[in-house]
């Protein structure tokens, strides 16, 4: 039998109420609860106060901004996967959501929940890292935003302070037509990724105007393969150029051994998945 320890339950209806409710020594936010409740059932996490933000409906919106799309914190994975705005501008999101757990968990789990849980193998941290997202945070001192490299500090550790909550993430539109693709290897459908790769390619005048490669499962946080990105930018937009740059994808990676995969196996997957993602992204960019 696994049951949560007792806690005080608070259910704010507005963001202001949520911030007030978080003014407590040991408060945790529950959004979809698909990672938090297992930890509470195991009593790995025993908050004194649980702040349930599910009634703050303004956090569920996905909207166009001047420069991109804003995804509300409470957007469920299933809704992100079928959202027409995301499908139009970031089709990679629906592709990645197909790898997130299972139907029932996608119905309930949220974007901000995944970001704040900060599993280094999870899809949303990787997407936000790949897409240069800005994580929007509200606290008692007002609003601030954080880049992924500032937000994700270590496995399951973020830059979120005690009395803060993530309200959404802003994804800036690419500077021009682009192609994107997502690849993942997991032990079984819906498991956390052993390694995941997301690619974004922008081509101008037959040249790589921009290449991005994001990787999950191979470091303490999602990472960008900056060496590969830098080497490819300005090169002729050809699959051979991508192939030649693949060894750069594993530069500076420090995967861990765990019971799912050895560090060596994770490293060996990187060029395989990077190649698949980059080549599909290039194909889409030049269609």
């Amino acid at each position: 039998m696994m049951k949560p320890a007792a806690f005080e339950y608070v259910r704010p209806e507005t963001l202001a109420e949520a911030v007030t409710a978080l003014d407590h020594d040991d408060a945790r936010i529950i959004a979809g609860g698909q990672s938090l409740l297992p930890m509470m059932n195991f009593r790995l996490v025993q908050p004194e106060r649980l702040v349930d933000i599910n009634r703050i409906t303004e956090l569920e919106r996905i909207e166009r901004t001047k420069t991109g799309l804003r995804i509300g914190a409470l957007t469920r994975h299933a809704n992100a996967a079928r959202d027409p705005l995301l499908a139009e501008h970031f089709p990679i999101v629906a592709e990645a959501m197909g790898h997130v757990a299972h139907v029932a968990i996608r119905n309930r789990g949220t974007v901000a929940g995944s970001l704040c849980h900060a599993d280094p193998s999870a899809e949303w941290p990787l997407l936000v890292t790949l897409l240069d997202g800005e994580i929007e945070i509200l606290g008692s001192d007002g609003h601030r935003s954080a880049e992924p490299s500032e937000f994700f500090l270590a496995p399951l550790v973020t830059d979120i302070e005690e009395q803060e909550l993530v309200t959404g993430v802003h994804l800036p539109l690419p500077a021009g037509p682009s192609g994107m693709a997502f690849e993942e290897v997991a032990q079984r459908a819906g498991d956390f990724a052993v390694v995941a790769a997301g690619a974004m390619v922008r081509v101008e005048n037959d040249t790589f105007a921009e290449v991005r490669l994001g990787l999950g499962g191979v470091f303490d946080t999602s990472v960008r393969a900056r060496a590969l990105e830098g080497a490819l930018t300005g090169q002729r937009a050809r699959a051979e150029e991508l192939e030649a740059a693949l060894p750069l994808a594993i530069e500076d990676l420090e995967p861990n051994d765990d019971l799912h995969a050895s560090a060596d196996y994770r490293l060996s997957l990187v060029p395989v998945l990077a190649r698949r993602a980059l080549i599909r992204a290039l194909h889409r960019a030049t269609q």
Binding site: Y9, N41, V103
Partner: protein, 161 residues
């Protein structure tokens, strides 16, 4: 609120009102407070899928929800599908295809199928398997379950089976 919280909800069309401790899981509320023991509890951490219910029209794991979060919700459990004498079409299809053996996982599968028949195209058996991947069966293997769902999808889509 520190003590019990009052919740109102409908379960299988019937209204309920109850006072629950915030830490009570939705699965335990359905089973222990309402006596609806068709919702099974397996792993209690969101892995096995046997506690799957429908909440406000979509499937959810009742071990990963608190009873207080059911406040205002419309819940459907396996008891709301059909009875032995008057089975729901999904239950009939499982029966016809021998899609269960011990039956422990079956309520979760049935509720998942309620969701995916509505929400997913399920064009191929691979898609059906992917959609069912959150539910674990340790008896039959999955072939018969996939066949049952294939039949239901074909009926839904008007295809000759």
């Amino acid at each position: 609120m520190t003590g019990k919280a009052r919740i109102t909800l409908t379960v299988n069309g019937e209204p309920f009102e109850a006072d629950v401790e915030p830490r009570m899981l939705a699965a335990d509320f359905l089973r222990d407070e309402l006596g609806l023991t068709g919702t099974h509890v397996g792993c209690e951490h969101g892995v096995c899928g046997t506690c799957t219910i429908m909440m406000n029209g979509v499937s959810a794991r009742s071990c990963l929800m608190l009873a207080v979060q059911l406040d205002g919700a419309e819940v459907q459990t396996v008891e709301g599908l059909g009875t032995i004498r008057d089975m729901h079409r999904i239950q009939e299809a499982f029966h016809e295809h021998h899609a269960l053996q011990c039956g422990f996982c079956t309520p979760g599968f049935l509720m998942t199928v309620c969701d995916i028949l509505e929400s997913l195209p399920l064009r191929t058996d691979a898609e059906i398997r992917d959609a069912l991947s959150g539910n674990i069966c340790r008896c039959t293997g999955y072939d018969h379950i996939v066949k049952a769902v294939r039949t239901l999808v074909d009926e839904r889509d008007g295809a000759a089976s």
